[in-house]
């Protein structure tokens, strides 16, 4: 969990290395066996030129980052909205990053809005979007005291 929730605070990033083995594992766990993810000979014949990671696998890293920052409030009161910009491929290192953009307090509830991004080792944006977490208490000072 974050030690303090402040506007402008950067969320601790989540970094994961993508391999074909992990993509295959995700296919088994999710049941999504679309050949664009797991069949190299099929994928090379498509405009994508090779296999790509499931979009939901990349979102799992975003969700992990949010859960690490906000604990169970994320799974109980979170909202996520993203667009997939570039596929993640085997060999890529994906970094999920986030920042608290604003905090709104209303009737004993704090609404924390974050901007999110996932990028690869070449700084290409894989996922971009935003998230909101509802914290069931009124945060005190939300400007960074540092």
């Amino acid at each position: 969990m974050l030690s303090g929730v402040y506007q402008g605070e950067t969320l601790p990033p989540v970094v994961r290395h993508i391999t074909q083995e992990k993509i295959n594992l995700y296919a088994e766990a999710s049941g999504d066996f679309n050949p664009i993810h797991i069949d190299e000979s099929f994928a090379t014949q498509t405009p994508l030129g090779g296999t790509i990671a499931h979009g939901m696998l990349i979102l799992a890293y975003v969700s992990e980052m949010m859960a690490q920052a906000f604990g169970q409030n994320w799974a109980a009161n979170g909202r996520l909205s993203v667009r997939f910009k570039t596929p993640a491929r085997p060999g890529d290192t994906v970094t999920a990053t986030g920042k608290i953009d604003s905090i709104r307090k209303e009737d004993g509830i704090s609404y924390v809005d974050c901007s999110l991004e996932c990028h690869n080792q070449k700084d290409e944006v894989i996922v971009t979007g935003g998230a909101m977490v509802k914290l069931p208490y009124n945060l005190g000072e939300t400007r960074d005291p540092r």
């Binding site: 992990k22 594992l25 088994e28 999710s30 664009i36 939901m56 969700s63 997939f84």
Partner: protein, 126 residues
């Protein structure tokens, strides 16, 4: 019999599906996403299962990809819970060589409380 893109209309409701978030399934999911997890089921694990549940009904061509995704999570779900998933087509676009579908998904627990809702935009190869 799986439904093809051509057969789908806006408002089409997929047959509801139900599945158990078994400890072995969650363990496999956590291994795949490199996560230690906690006492509750990761919300994206529920979403992944809900979306995959559609693939038995919806016949999508190989190469279909995910363009955007929205989710809202409403409640924590314990391991071994059984959830029910409902989905419908909310938008369908076919223009030039592009074919796109927007699907709305709602997941409920056994007490019929909503666990999560979502909207997925997928693009089909031409």
């Amino acid at each position: 019999m799986p439904v093809s893109y051509e057969e789908l209309a806006i408002g089409y409701e997929f047959p509801p599906t139900s599945y158990e978030l078994s400890p072995s399934l969650i363990s496999k999911y956590l291994k795949a996403v490199d996560s230690a997890g906690d006492a509750f089921v990761p919300p994206l694990a529920i979403a992944a299962r809900a979306m995959t549940g559609l693939t038995g009904v919806l016949s999508l061509p190989p190469g279909t990809i995910h363009a955007s995704q929205d989710f809202e999570f409403y409640k924590l779900v314990p391991s071994a819970a059984v959830v029910n998933c409902q989905a419908k087509v909310v938008r369908k676009v076919s223009r030039g060589g592009m074919r796109m579908l927007v699907l709305e998904l709602n997941v409920f627990d056994r007490s019929e409380e909503m666990v999560q809702s979502g909207k997925a935009t997928i693009i089909l190869p031409s």
